[in-house]
């Protein structure tokens, strides 16, 4: 394939990358190239065989593979060029892209780039659980791939650390496949994922949920034989004397996702320590001109629908950049204030509209979320596990007085 003369190159073909490539084509880019290291398009969706996808984007309750197929068909119908089984090794600060596949190494320089490499899972090393290195410890995502794609059951007696959605969904899946889930262990006083998943994945199958508990040690020489679980105090430190032993041959870790930022870092884009992904403006342009980002590579979303939408914004920005149209205008910083963990985008440049995502730090009831004086809304409850999406119109932005350089995004007690 001739790689010279590409207008928009999209790195990664998950829901974000596919949506970006489609939108770039629709927005008038001549040559759009989608680069993916796997042998098929779809990213993580192939292993997410459960339903709950597409409720917002399509107004239908789809499984991961069904959601993926809608985008895959469109990618091919529109004539997006695809480069499968090809890994991007490097993106230079000048947008030079180096890829490797069976054909060898190749380099090219598209007019604009959209980063859509998704996220990775936190591992045991990042948690520092004491004990040996027995076999039988997996991240929940690895187990999901083993069970749903390869047809292998990781074990018979399972403990799951972390009550995020992936962990709870795996608890149900393993139970239905005949394994016994001894417990889901969560360090916080509430579940990390959706209530729906707590009810339909844990309660439906009488799977014990241990809140304010953590795994303090793993046992077993060559293979896992059990774990020690202890209650934690309000500072999340294990309380001596509360330890219990649970026999198990498998421990799944579902303890958080982090944007995949190896390539972003090497491209020299500025990263936000709060999200783990690049800092961007409303078109999801990073600090490197012509390099955009969308989906989980930017910040971890709870809903795949939002990954797709966000990547479409990035694609629109990329197409404009490729055509030589630059957005200029005043720059305004968005800063997280009270009980706000992060805000994306981190800055607004020129005109709106602006699609903004934020996450809170702590669960609180009876709150008002506000974006400076531009927008506010009451929430019966805010939770760290539920992302909040805000749409600001061009009109909203025009109401901003001149000279404003910063807007605070806050969650305050509703009066």
């Amino acid at each position: 394939m001739r790689l010279q003369g590409v207008d928009v190159a999209v790195i990664g073909a998950g829901p974000a990358g596919m949506a970006a490539a489609i939108r770039a084509k629709e927005a008038g880019a001549q040559r759009v190239l989608l680069v993916e290291r796997q042998e098929e398009l779809g990213g993580l969706l192939h292993q997410c065989i459960h339903n709950g996808f597409g409720l917002l984007y399509f107004g239908e309750d789809l499984t991961g593979p069904e959601y993926a197929k809608r985008f895959i068909d469109r990618v091919y119908d529109l004539g997006v060029e695809t480069l499968l089984e090809t890994t991007v090794l490097e993106i230079s600060p000048e947008r030079g892209i180096r890829v490797i596949n069976k054909g060898g190494l190749q380099s090219f320089r598209p007019k604009a780039v959209v980063l859509a490499m998704g996220c990775r899972e936190r591992t045991r090393d990042q948690l520092g659980i004491p004990g040996g290195r027995p076999a039988g410890i997996f991240t929940a995502g690895t187990a999901q791939r083993l069970v749903n794609v390869e047809g292998l059951l990781p074990g018979r007696r399972v403990v799951i650390l972390g009550s995020g959605d992936v962990g709870m969904i795996m608890a149900r899946r393993l139970t239905l496949e005949g394994a016994r889930v001894e417990a889901v262990v969560e360090i916080l006083p509430y579940v990390g994922g959706l209530i729906r998943n707590e009810v339909q994945c844990l309660h439906d199958f009488d799977i014990p949920l241990l809140l304010e508990h953590t795994v303090t040690e793993v046992h077993g020489e060559r293979h896992l034989e059990g774990v020690t679980v202890a209650k934690v105090d309000p500072h999340r430190r294990p309380i001596p004397g509360t330890e219990i032993q649970i026999e198990c041959d498998t421990l799944l870790l579902s303890v958080g996702l982090i944007p995949e930022n190896e390539l972003s870092r090497r491209a020299g884009v500025e990263l936000d320590p709060l999200t783990g992904g690049p800092t961007v403006d409303q078109w999801r342009e990073t600090t490197v001109p012509g390099v955009f980002a969308g989906g989980n590579v930017l910040h971890v979303h709870d809903l795949v629908d939002n990954c797709s939408w966000e990547a479409e914004l990035a694609a629109e920005g990329a197409v404009r950049f490729a055509k030589g149209e630059r957005t200029e205008g005043r720059e305004i910083c968005l800063r997280p204030g009270r009980n706000v963990r992060y805000v994306v985008p981190q800055r607004i440049r020129g005109e709106g509209p602006v699609t903004l995502f934020l996450r809170v730090r702590e669960m609180e009831e009876g709150m008002r979320v506000r974006v400076g004086d531009l927008w506010q809304k009451r929430f019966r409850v805010v939770k760290p596990s539920e992302q909040i999406k805000v749409e600001l119109s061009p009109k909203d932005l025009r109401r901003l007085p001149d000279g404003v350089a910063e807007i605070r995004v806050e969650c305050e007690v509703a009066g």
Partner: protein
């Protein structure tokens, strides 16, 4: 009279509802829900709890070992495990396209099991 506890999954609040139920199984009173839609949901969940089942079936004559499947509509919750046993006997053979029926009328529920992706040979 009996009482039943049901958590509403309608929104992030996750209200814990208590249902007062007559001996004939009729819902007399619902407390604990903070909205109307939630009340409707918990009553329905009490009378007839249903779930969409998603799982995989083994393949035969395909380069991929598994085919992901779903029920075309929700089935009674208490049939989930029995349904898994029925699925264990199924062998999906290519060519199959997403949306095609893999097993008709699962356990006499009137609900079909359908493929959620194309099955390559």
């Amino acid at each position: 009279m009996k009482e039943a506890q049901i958590i509403c999954v309608g929104c992030p609040l996750g209200c814990r509802a208590t249902l007062k139920v007559s001996r004939e199984g009729e819902v007399l009173e619902v407390t604990g829900c903070r909205c109307k839609e939630g009340r409707r949901y918990v009553v329905e969940e009490f009378r007839n709890p249903v779930r969409v089942l998603t799982a995989t079936v083994l393949t035969e004559g395909s380069r991929v070992p598994l085919l992901p499947v779903r029920t075309s509509s929700p089935i009674p919750k208490e049939k989930l495990r029995e349904a898994m046993k029925a699925l264990a006997k199924v062998r999906a053979k290519p060519p199959l396209r997403a949306g095609e029926v893999v097993l008709e009328d699962l356990l006499g529920t009137g609900v079909d099991l359908v493929a959620t992706r194309d099955l390559p040979s």
